[in-house]
């Protein structure tokens, strides 16, 4: 059984280390916060200007001055600090954030990432994604292995405009876990009942050393 989105988020939570400062992207990456090991001390950064992001508020706790990067209302914690946008991106671009887990449209075997625009379609903008992939210590991608048409999203070369070049360290898909290594992608782990043959059939990128 390939992983579903919650399985992928749970697997991505294994990328966390005690004491990490982490930035989670919008969508499936947000679910990772549901799987943080209880004995781990993890601080979530929200790039609109907050370190130590808490859960969604109760109806009574809602504060219009307290939102996350997805513009959702959130809460603060005892440890929380607030800061301006340039300070927020100084900690991102200065390499002070340990890990960012993001979604993607395409990833290449060289670790190139495309997740911000499709030519000819509505372009909404990259937000903080280009800064995150350029500055955060480790970049892990969560995405479906194939698009809706059944085509591989792990490619030899991205067809869409890039968010960053050679920036991805690890990819978690519904089929397994893949690392960007010299010469292509290396299979680190397969989802239950997924075979290497299935992965090879469904992956355009070069699979190496396995």
């Amino acid at each position: 059984m390939p992983w579903d989105r919650n399985d992928m988020a749970a697997r991505a939570a294994q990328e966390l280390e005690d004491g990490f400062y982490v930035n989670l992207g919008i969508g499936i990456p947000t679910l990772v916060s549901n799987y943080v090991p209880e004995d781990y001390d993890i601080t979530l950064q929200s790039e609109n200007g907050m370190l130590g992001m808490g859960p969604f508020p109760t109806e009574e706790e809602i504060d219009a001055d307290l939102i996350n990067a997805g513009k959702q209302t959130v809460t603060e914690l005892e440890r929380t600090s607030y800061f301006s946008s340039s300070q927020s991106f100084a900690m991102i671009r200065g390499g002070h954030i340990n890990l960012s887990i993001l979604g993607a449209m395409e990833v290449s075997e060289a670790g190139d990432l495309a997740n911000w625009m499709i030519p000819g379609r509505l372009v909404k903008g990259m937000g903080g994604a280009m800064d995150l992939v350029a500055g955060v210590q480790r970049i892990v991608i969560i995405m479906d292995h194939a698009n809706k048409a059944g085509e591989s999203k792990l490619l030899k070369k991205c067809s869409l405009p890039l968010t960053g070049q050679g920036v991805v360290d690890r990819i978690i898909t519904n089929l397994g876990v893949f690392d960007v290594v010299e010469g292509g992608l290396k299979v680190i782990e397969l989802a239950p009942e997924v075979t290497m043959e299935e992965v090879l059939n469904k992956t355009e990128a070069t699979i190496v050393g396995s």
């Binding site: 001055d65 671009r93 990259m126």
Partner: protein
């Protein structure tokens, strides 16, 4: 010199000009100078270039300035919440310069600090770096981005005083401190003007030197994504 004014309209008196560049604080609808934006709409000024992380929504925030086509160009990182924006953009009536969010923040910070350009790894190898100078430092490639100054900066703070000292509240700070430094003229709208000396001198986020005009107003503070958990 008197910095305190009574309303958004009064602070904008003699400041607005067609074709000017305005830096506006806020992230989404959080911490936006909503009264100044509304006053700029009613002024009718046009051909504006606006540097702001987002473009508001159709009927609130900077979206208001699109209704009468007052904006020529936006410098933003994300404009996905605004349908009117998309219509005008696709019709070729509105120009957009996408800046990565951190690059936009740093451009404003640098501009305000008298730094005309800086190198960053953000955007290297992407469309953003096309046509821009790159340089290698310690084996890694960086792209040159320009500091950004604006004819006018409009910001929203929590509390301020007659000296123009400002403090912001929670994530409503966002781009406001950077915009405040980048304006040739900076106007702040605050929830409350307190007596000089009442703000904690060690907790002032924007020192008064950056702020030329200030007024107090009420704020709707509209919420874009109201997300809750069970009590």
């Amino acid at each position: 010199m008197k910095k305190v004014f009574s309303s958004a309209d009064e602070t904008l008196n003699g400041v607005l000009k067609d074709g000017m560049t305005i830096a506006a604080g806020g992230f989404g609808l959080c911490g936006i100078p909503e009264n100044l934006i509304a006053a700029i709409k009613s002024s009718g000024v046009k051909e504006l270039t606006i540097a702001s992380n987002n473009a508001g929504v159709d009927d609130f925030g900077l979206g208001l300035l699109l209704q009468d086509r007052q904006v020529k160009k936006m410098i933003s990182s994300y404009v996905g919440e605004n349908d009117l924006f998309m219509q005008q953009y696709l019709a070729g009536e509105l120009e957009i310069e996408f800046n990565p969010q951190g690059t936009l923040a740093e451009r404003l910070r640098a501009g305000g600090a008298g730094i005309p350009g800086f190198y960053t790894a953000t955007g290297v190898g992407t469309k953003i770096a096309e046509g821009k100078e790159t340089k290698e430092f310690d084996g890694k490639t960086y792209v040159l981005e320009r500091g950004l100054r604006a004819d006018l900066a409009i910001v929203k703070a929590w509390k301020g005083d007659a000296q123009g000292n400002l403090t912001y509240r929670k994530t409503a700070m966002n781009f406001n401190p950077e915009c405040a430094t980048a304006g040739k003229i900076t106007i702040a709208e605050v929830e409350e003007i307190v007596p000089v000396g009442a703000l904690d001198k060690m907790q002032i986020h924007t020192p008064g030197v950056y702020v030329q005009r200030i007024f107090a107003a009420s704020h709707e503070k509209r919420i874009e994504q109201r997300t809750t958990r069970a009590a």
